[in-house]
Structure formats: structure tokens, C-alpha cells
């Protein structure tokens, strides 16, 4: 069934969108990630204009994170205070990111920016995750790894300290704000929630306990992506309601299936799989930049350069 998307102004198969949403949903449910970093490139591949893909994906992430946060709030695994500090950074970052996005759109480099960001971040995160989970698998084979002790790093020597009771931390607000800003910029430019950057940063940089990390990052992601959606909607008019709803319905159902598959696999194996997937997306986007494209020219909206 073909459906005409009013904002993207293209006609696509509704079942293809439901299916894409479903597949990414299964993966995100399995791995506990938002899946924006997979969905946005997939939308490029099926011919949705990049600006619409990025803005609409932000809209979708808000909705798909919403039910997740409710579950975490019930289990009291959200550090609201930390979430708010991250959020302050996130909102600043998102505003900056949309500015950068629009400036580069005007000079015709937004595709390059989006793709380079993907290659860079997916490459780094994928490799780190791969090495780390391989090490974990080796350790678990040797049997009985030593639990990690929190180290005293430069993070603990900064001013403006604040007590985060839920996380059991007494640290400066500067690092969480910086993490928030970075994630906000990424959310605006790449059309992702940024969980794949924020979760490792919270664990390794801020030293937060793992059980509150996911809930807190989801809490921040909802507000940052909601803000990003509104910014894109009011400055670029690129949020496609119809596209978002179709992706969501597939995505939510997929996520439920994925979560059920996820509990049957071991955490380390899951992480190796996820690392592979991240690196595969990274490799595909990287190759596209390196190989000479069949069509050297492209058309863009007029105005400013």
C-alpha cells in the first residue's frame, strides 16, 4: 500500500515503513538502545530527504522512549536530579546543533556533516564496545572477574559539586552538563537520541551505577529530542507526522519482541553483536564517502551559500 507523506513529499510503501520500524524495534529492544542511529541511515536509503529523516526520527525517539521511562520511573531507576542537569546541557546542545545543521544546510554540506558524524561516532563507539565486550567474554571464561572499583579521576576535582542521591555521587555539575551538550548537538545533527554516547559516558566518565544509567538517559533523551523536534518543526518544517507514526507502530511492537529475545541471550554476546552492527553501519557510510559516487551532482533547495 503506497502512502503519500505530506511533508517529505514522497510516496512510499506503508508496509515497508512498518517493517523498517519493526526490525529496528527488535534490535533496539534486544540491545536496549534507541535505534535512531540505525533508523536515520535506513531512511536515507529508502529515499526520504535527509533533513526530513533527521527531524522525524527525533519525533519518533520521543515517543519510543516515553513508555521506557514510565517503566523505569515505576522501578525508581531514574536519577531525576542527574537527569535534569544532563537535560540543561542537552537543551543548550540541541539549540547549538540545530544552528549548525541550518548553517551547513545553507552551504550544502549537511549530508557530509551527518555522514561524517555517523562514521566518526559509530566507529569509535563500535570499536570500544567490541574490545570491551571481547575482554568481558575472555574474563568470564577464565571465571570470576573482579568487580570494578570507582577510581578518583579529574572529574572529581572540578568545582560546583552537587549531591546526586539516587546515583550515590557527589561530583561537579560540569562533566554532566558537558555530556549533555555533546548529546544534544548529536541529537540535532544526527537524528539520534544519543544513548549510545551517553550511557558509556555516564558509566565510565561520571561513574554512575549501571542500574540507573538507562532510565536516566531515557529521561534526558525524551526532553532533548522533544525540544529538537520542535526546533526542526519551527525552523525547517521537516517533521513528518505520518512517517513518524508509521515507524513508531512498527517500532514499538518490534521492541517488545526484541526485549523478549534479549533476555535469552548473554549480556556479553549481546554487546558483541551490537558492536558488529554499529561497525557495519559505520563501514557502509564510510565506504559511501570513499567510493566515487555514480552521480557527482545533486540538487538542493535554493537560498544562501
Amino acid at each position: 500500500m503506497q502512502i503519500y507523506l505530506p511533508i517529505a513529499e514522497v510516496s512510499v510503501n506503508a508496509f515497508l515503513l512498518l517493517g523498517l520500524g519493526g526490525i529496528v524495534g527488535v534490535l533496539s529492544g534486544m540491545f536496549g538502545v534507541g535505534g535512531g542511529f540505525l533508523m536515520t541511515p535506513l531512511l536515507f536509503f529508502i529515499g526520504i530527504p535527509p533533513a526530513v529523516a533527521v527531524a522525524t526520527e527525533a519525533n519518533q525517539i520521543v515517543a519510543s522512549s516515553f513508555s521506557g521511562v514510565l517503566a523505569h520511573l515505576k522501578r525508581k531507576t531514574v536519577d531525576l536530579r542527574m537527569g535534569c542537569v544532563l537535560l540543561v546541557g542537552g537543551l543548550i546542545g540541541a539549540a547549538l546543533g540545530v544552528q549548525i545543521f541550518n548553517a551547513l544546510k545553507a552551504i550544502g554540506q549537511v549530508d557530509l556533516l551527518v555522514k561524517l558524524s555517523y562514521v566518526l561516532f559509530l566507529g569509535i563507539i563500535g570499536s570500544l564496545m567490541f574490545v570491551e565486550s571481547l575482554r568481558a567474554i575472555m574474563k568470564s571464561r577464565k571465571g570470576g572477574g573482579v568487580p570494578k572499583r570507582r577510581k578518583h579521576t579529574w572529574v572529581h576535582n572540578l568545582p560546583f559539586k552537587m549531591k546526586f542521591r539516587t546515583s550515590g555521587l557527589y561530583i561537579s555539575v560540569i562533566p554532566p552538563i558537558m555530556v549533555g551538550v555533546l548529546v544534544g548537538i548529536l541529537a540535532a545533527i544526527m537524528g539520534v537520541g544519543g544513548g549510545f554516547i551517553m550511557v558509556p559516558a555516564m558509566i565510565y566518565l561520571l561513574g554512575m551505577p549501571t542500574k540507573v544509567v538507562v532510565g536516566t538517559s531515557l529521561f534526558q533523551i525524551i526532553f532533548v529530542t522533544a525540544f529538537t523536534t520542535l526546533l526542526h518543526a519551527t525552523t525547517n518544517f521537516t517533521v513528518d507526522m505520518g512517517l513518524a507514526v508509521l515507524l513508531l507502530v512498527g517500532g514499538v511492537i518490534g521492541a517488545q519482541i526484541g526485549a523478549r529475545i534479549g533476555v535469552r541471550l548473554k549480556a556479553e554476546q549481546l554487546r558483541v553483536l551490537l558492536a558488529f552492527m554499529v561497525l557495519a553501519v559505520c563501514g557502509k557510510l564510510g565506504l559511501d564517502l570513499l567510493i566515487q559516487p555514480a552521480e557527482l551532482f545533486e540538487l538542493g533547495a535554493a537560498g544562501g551559500h
Binding site: 503519500y4 513529499e9 520542535l230 526542526h232 518543526a233 518544517f237 513518524a244 535554493a302 551559500h305
Partner: protein, 255 residues
């Protein structure tokens, strides 16, 4: 008095030989509505040649049909290899390029219309693409306009349909022009021209109106006129849809 009148009439006739053959034309539809399930549309353009005197026998009659979508400025960008990766380097702004352009002819384009009349009546798509400023930083502007035409031909927005106008007994003609799903809204100027020996002898013009309707129209207007409300609404709808879908799915699993 009568003599003067007949001289005037003769003079007028010789000055306006084009009036010898006139087009009576019709369209299968002069409104195209873009709805949620719009997958493109095919327009049948048909008509007849009305004449007062028998047609000249020496040169054959040919028909050209041109459908042109609304024009808009556009930027064409060229990629080049920098630091080992392919990035956009040069850009050329075009003041206007039609969003859709179809030429259907009863023979090949070259056999149907002469170069001079092509220029005079702006038939080929190249004539409707306007380069704005003098692009001083571009060595070869032609390369960019060619690229525009190539890309739009590939996506079905520009088409050259040679030998596609059916002409019966030098009088009745018809052609079908497919409009793709990714249409721009606006007035599509539709021209029918008769030619003999490459020269245009008669011209007819009408408009096809393409518009989003219903829900598509409403969403598009809201997004552009009240973007903040639209943005908030899309968030609410998305959250409701996500919640609803997960609740429904859980209910199905429980039963």
C-alpha cells in the same frame, strides 16, 4: 467597399496563416488531487484540428504537447574528492527550473520542430531553465544544467516522449502523460502546438491544477502556518501512538 473589405480580408489571411488550422483540445482531467494514497496520475490529452480549407499536402502535420510544472529556484551541487572523501565543492544557483517537464511529440523532436521555433516557443526543457547571476566561479555552467536535467529525467520529473502523440488522419490526436507521485503543487501549464515543416502553425494553452487535498492539505498547511502547534501535535500523536501500540500488543500477548 466590398472590394476593400475583400482586400483587407486577403491581407489578414496572408498575414495570419496560422489561423488556417486551429486546435480544439481536451484533457481527461484538469485537476490533480494529491491524497494520502496518491501514487501519481496519468493525464490523457486529446483533441482535433479544425480547418476551414483542405490541409496542405506537401508538408506533414506534427503535434507537440508540453506540460510544465511550476518553476522554482534550485541549487545544483557538484562533488569532488577532497582529503580522500567525496564532498560537495562547487554549487550553482539557478534562478528558475520547472519542477516537472514533459514533451510529447508525434515524431522525433528534431523532426517535429525546428531549432528556431524551439527557441521562439520555448519548447525544450533547456529553454525553461534560467541561470541567475553570472556564475563567475563556475567554468562550465552547462555541466550543471545538464546534471539537473539528467537527475530529474532519472526520477521521472523531466521526460521527452518522442513518437508518443498519436495522430489519426491528420486531424485527431491524443497522448498520455504520466505524472509521478512526487509532484509539486501548483499550476501545470499545458501547451499543444501544431507544426508543419518544423514551423509552429497553431498553439493552444490550458492549465492543470495540482493540489494536495484533505488530510494531506491540512497537515501541510498546519506545518507551515502554525509550526509550533504542529510540532507539539506531532509529539502528542507520536507518544499516543507509541503507547497505544505497546498497550495493544501486550493485551494481545496476554490473551
Amino acid at each position: 467597399m466590398l472590394r476593400i473589405l475583400s482586400i483587407v480580408a486577403l491581407f489578414l489571411l496572408s498575414a495570419l496563416p496560422v489561423r488556417a488550422e486551429e486546435i480544439v483540445a481536451g484533457l481527461s482531467q484538469n485537476r490533480v488531487s494529491i491524497t494520502a494514497t496518491f501514487v501519481g496520475s496519468e493525464i490523457l490529452i486529446f483533441g482535433a484540428v479544425k480547418r476551414e480549407s483542405p490541409p496542405p499536402q506537401d508538408v506533414p502535420l506534427e503535434v507537440v504537447v508540453v506540460v510544465e510544472g511550476p518553476s522554482a529556484p534550485i541549487t545544483v551541487r557538484k562533488k569532488d574528492k577532497r582529503f580522500g572523501i567525496w564532498v560537495n565543492t562547487d554549487a550553482m544557483e539557478l534562478a528558475a527550473a520547472p519542477s516537472f517537464y514533459a514533451i510529447a511529440t508525434s515524431d522525433t523532436l528534431d523532426n517535429t520542430i525546428s531549432k528556431l521555433d524551439d527557441f521562439r516557443h520555448l519548447i525544450s526543457v533547456e529553454r525553461s531553465i534560467h541561470i541567475s547571476d553570472n556564475p563567475f566561479n563556475i567554468n562550465d555552467p552547462r555541466e550543471f544544467t545538464d546534471a539537473l536535467i539528467r537527475i530529474r529525467e532519472k526520477s521521472g520529473l523531466y521526460k521527452r516522449l518522442e513518437n508518443s502523440v498519436k495522430l489519426a488522419q491528420d486531424t485527431l490526436f491524443e497522448t498520455r502523460i504520466a505524472l509521478p507521485a512526487n509532484l509539486t503543487e501548483g499550476d501545470y501549464r499545458t501547451r499543444i502546438l501544431l507544426t508543419r515543416g518544423g514551423q509552429v502553425t497553431s498553439e493552444y494553452e490550458t492549465i492543470i491544477n495540482v493540489q494536495k487535498v484533505g488530510l494531506e492539505r491540512w497537515i501541510f498547511n498546519l506545518a507551515h502556518e502554525k509550526p509550533l502547534i504542529y510540532g507539539l501535535l506531532s509529539l502528542v500523536i507520536a507518544i499516543a501512538a507509541g503507547w497505544g501500540a505497546s498497550a495493544a500488543f501486550r493485551m494481545i500477548l496476554r490473551n
